[in-house]
Structure formats: structure tokens, C-alpha cells
Subunit: 254 residues, 2 copies
């Protein structure tokens, strides 16, 4: 398919590379920042522009992959003169209706993207949505060329999916950050010692539900350990609050 | 080495199997529950007892692997008549001084153990502590036969290590539980769609620190998304609180 890529951040970069590898024609990259547009265009061996007026007038799909707060203004700037074209955005938490075109859709690859680490797209579940059947089929087909897992999902449910992803990814990762900080402050042990524990916690989910897999003082409601650990966090009232809320929530769920 | 295993729970079972495979002589299993003592003894092809008086009078090391609150009473019941022997417990958050013997120590394998899933012990970091150099060396040697990563660590620092493990394992896992619950309530998508995201979040730690790896609305301090997601959690005040505390903590740490 002939694709115009709008944006050149982490997700746009990872997605562009995956689409390009799958044999699609990335016809152009557009970004408001020349440097990032240039970098991505170079990687994809395609032209780029930083002028909305110079964006191609037709393509099979325009993929808007910019930060959430910029989607609307970018879409408005580009849809003029391209009214019949299919525009999609890639944001998990944003409704399809933020796009002003009749042919609008969503192409949400649910993964955590960092510039420093390339992602294997084949295992990234992609959630697609469109306003008519043919556009939906087009997006499903497109997603199927880079991912083994494609779901249709409407904007309402996708909001909850994205919220679930925030818990499973961002919040879990923040628990690692707090653990890393504790290790750094006490003893001289590298954070790498935590990796087997973290990997095992993640890998348990292939055989158990997270609820079944839970271990530790909170699920046992071992108040001796819980009270002692709260004391260890003296001087960090926010951490104590997080510890308390999560422990009580584990207990309530068990 | 000649080892007496005190306890027959998840950790005792996993540890006993690893020690046995490494060629040690598990001379006896003791547990207060006949059924679990029998099951483990059968798996290890060794004798068992449920009578403290029948526990062997000498061994290279007695490994007490029972729940935290039972360590002290079990140790008191067994040390009589075995005063010169080396007793160790396997609990991350408990001081070595809970043991009444002169030769006392800790052998803490930091991992999350479920009965349903066997663990590869070679990658489990083991933290050892003892009261004299020869016992310390003995524990280091013993740990070295089953694990590639052995550290000496005192009880004070081990408390913080265990607290860090609670964050990295139990609390991260609870974030998965909440994510799973959200998925279940909205749309008809299996929790397995979250695995690539969860795996990637864990595997990023091989190249980035968790702080560097953070993504999502909180680290961007995208208050549009944050406020909207708080609204999605209407009717779940504890979840809202957890969402708020963790998002603010991510923001404060970034």
C-alpha cells in the first residue's frame, strides 16, 4: 500500500520501519521538525516534507502518529484538499472522532516504544477501527502484514484497553523504578539482580492469571512484614501511601 | 552436603529439587503437615518426619523454609539437642537473629515461587549471611552449586532488598491484575493480548533503566489523558487513588 507517515517520533519510527520491511511503499514522511523528518526519511529511504501543503494529495492511507495533543491540529492542517482520503491515528486513548475526515480510522499498535530499542512488530497486537467496511478491511489487511494479532475495537472499549495498558506497562514499570531506587540507597547491589524476578513475574502469566500468580506479604496479609516495610519507608510518605494502597488492593482482590 | 529440609511449601519444594539435582544429600524432610512432608520426600526420594524429636541430630546445614511467622517457633523446637549445628532460614525480610543457635545464617533465593510452575534456579540470585567466616563460605559454596549469582548481604540491607522485590514483583503483578480486570469488564479481549506489552516492559530493563524506559501519559504529564482515565475509573475510588498516586510519583521521578 502507498502510505504517508505523519510524525517521526518513537512510534512513527518503529511503525514506519515495520511497514517498509513488509513491502509497503512509504511514499513520504511529514513532520513539523525537520531533523526528525529527515532522520526517519533517511532510514526509510523515502522523501520527506515539513510543509503541510507539500504533503502528497493521495495515498491509500495517511498514518498520523504524533503526540495525542497534536493529533487534531495536524489532522486539520492536512485534511484540506485531501477530503476523500483515509486518515488514521495511532493513539490508544483518543477517539476516532477527533479526525475531521469522513474516511477516518484508528490503527493502534499496543506496545511501549523507546527510540533506543527496536520492537518486533509481529507480536504487537494491533487494534483497528474505521467508519465503513472497506476501510476497516483495508486497515485489517495492513495490520495483518506486520502483526500476527489484529483486533477490531471501537473507541469506547479502546479507552479501557489503553487504561489497562497503562496499568500493565507504565505502572508496573514505575514499581521497578521504585525498587531500583531502594536498591541504590541500600547495599551495593546492581539493579540487574532484579531481572530474573521481574522476568519470572511476567512469564508466569503464560500459565497463571496474575491473580493466581500473586505472592508476597500482601496476599498472605502478613501484617508483621507489611508494618515493618512501611517503617522502612519512613521519610517517603508518598511511597508509604503507594505501598499501603497497593497492599490493601491486593488483599481486597485475593 | 548433607542437608535437612525444614518445611515443604513452594520455596522448600523448589529449593529441595534444585539442591537434590545439584547432587546434595537431602537427608530428611521435616514438616508439621504429614501430607506435604510426604509429597516432597517422595519427590526428593528421601525420608521424612513430622516429629521434631526424630529430626536428624547432625547435618551440614538445616534449611528452615517455612512461613515467616513460623520460623522462630520451628527453630526453637528443633535447636534443642542440635546446638552445634548450622541453621539457616530462607526469608528475605527476616533478620538472621530470629534463629536461636550460635551457628545461624540466611539463605535467601530471591524469586517468586508458585507450586504450579517450576523455577530455573541457576538464574535465581541467592543472598547469604552467617555469623562466622567458615559458615559463610559453606553457604556461598552451597548457593554456588545451584545458582550463578551469589551475594553476601546482611540482614539490614536484605530488608530493603526484599522491599524492592515486593515493588518489582508483587506490586508490578498487581498492576497486571488490575489491567486484567479492566479488560474483562470492557470488550471481549483475552488478557493474553497484554503479554507482549508486559514482556517488552520487562525486557527493556536489559538495555535501559526503568526510569529511562518509562513511557505513557504520566511521564509526559499529559493531563488530558490522565483526567480522562481517572473518569473511566469512576465507581472504583481505590483504583482512582492508586492511579493518581502512581501517576504523580512517575511525574515526580521524571
Amino acid at each position: 500500500m502507498k502510505i504517508v507517515l505523519i510524525g517521526a517520533g518513537n512510534l512513527a519510527t518503529n511503525l514506519g520501519k515495520a511497514l517498509s520491511r513488509a513491502g509497503h511503499d512509504i511514499a513520504q514522511v511529514y513532520s513539523r521538525t525537520e531533523e526528525s523528518a529527515k532522520t526517519l526519511a533517511l532510514a526509510l529511504k523515502c522523501p520527506y516534507t515539513i510543509q503541510p501543503t507539500e504533503v502528497l494529495k493521495s495515498a491509500d492511507v495517511y498514518v498520523i502518529s504524533v503526540k495525542d495533543t497534536a493529533i487534531q491540529s495536524v489532522a486539520y492542517a492536512l485534511c484540506e484538499g485531501r477530503e476523500g482520503q483515509l486518515f488514521v491515528h495511532t493513539a490508544g486513548s483518543i477517539s476516532v472522532d477527533i479526525l475531521p475526515t469522513v474516511r477516518r480510522g484508528v490503527f493502534y499498535p499496543m506496545q511501549t516504544f523507546s527510540k533506543q530499542k527496536e520492537v518486533d512488530f509481529s507480536i504487537v497486537p494491533c487494534f483497528v477501527e474505521a467508519q465503513n467496511d472497506s476501510d476497516l478491511q483495508l486497515l485489517k489487511d495492513l495490520a495483518g502484514t506486520i502483526s500476527d494479532t489484529v483486533y477490531e475495537m471501537n473507541s469506547e472499549n479502546r479507552q479501557y484497553l489503553h487504561l489497562a495498558a497503562v496499568f500493565c506497562c507504565n505502572f508496573a514499570n514505575h514499581c521497578y523504578t521504585l525498587g531500583a531506587q531502594l536498591l541504590k540507597e541500600h547495599g551495593d547491589i546492581p539493579f540487574s539482580v532484579m531481572r530474573p524476578l521481574i522476568d519470572e513475574t511476567a512469564s508466569k502469566l503464560y500459565t497463571l492469571s496474575p491473580k493466581e500468580a500473586q505472592t508476597g506479604p500482601a496476599v498472605r496479609w502478613d501484617t508483621n512484614v507489611i508494618d515493618k516495610q512501611l517503617q522502612l519507608l519512613d521519610g517517603k510518605p508518598e511511597w508509604q501511601m503507594i505501598y499501603k494502597m497497593l497492599s490493601e488492593s491486593i488483599h481486597a482482590n485475593s
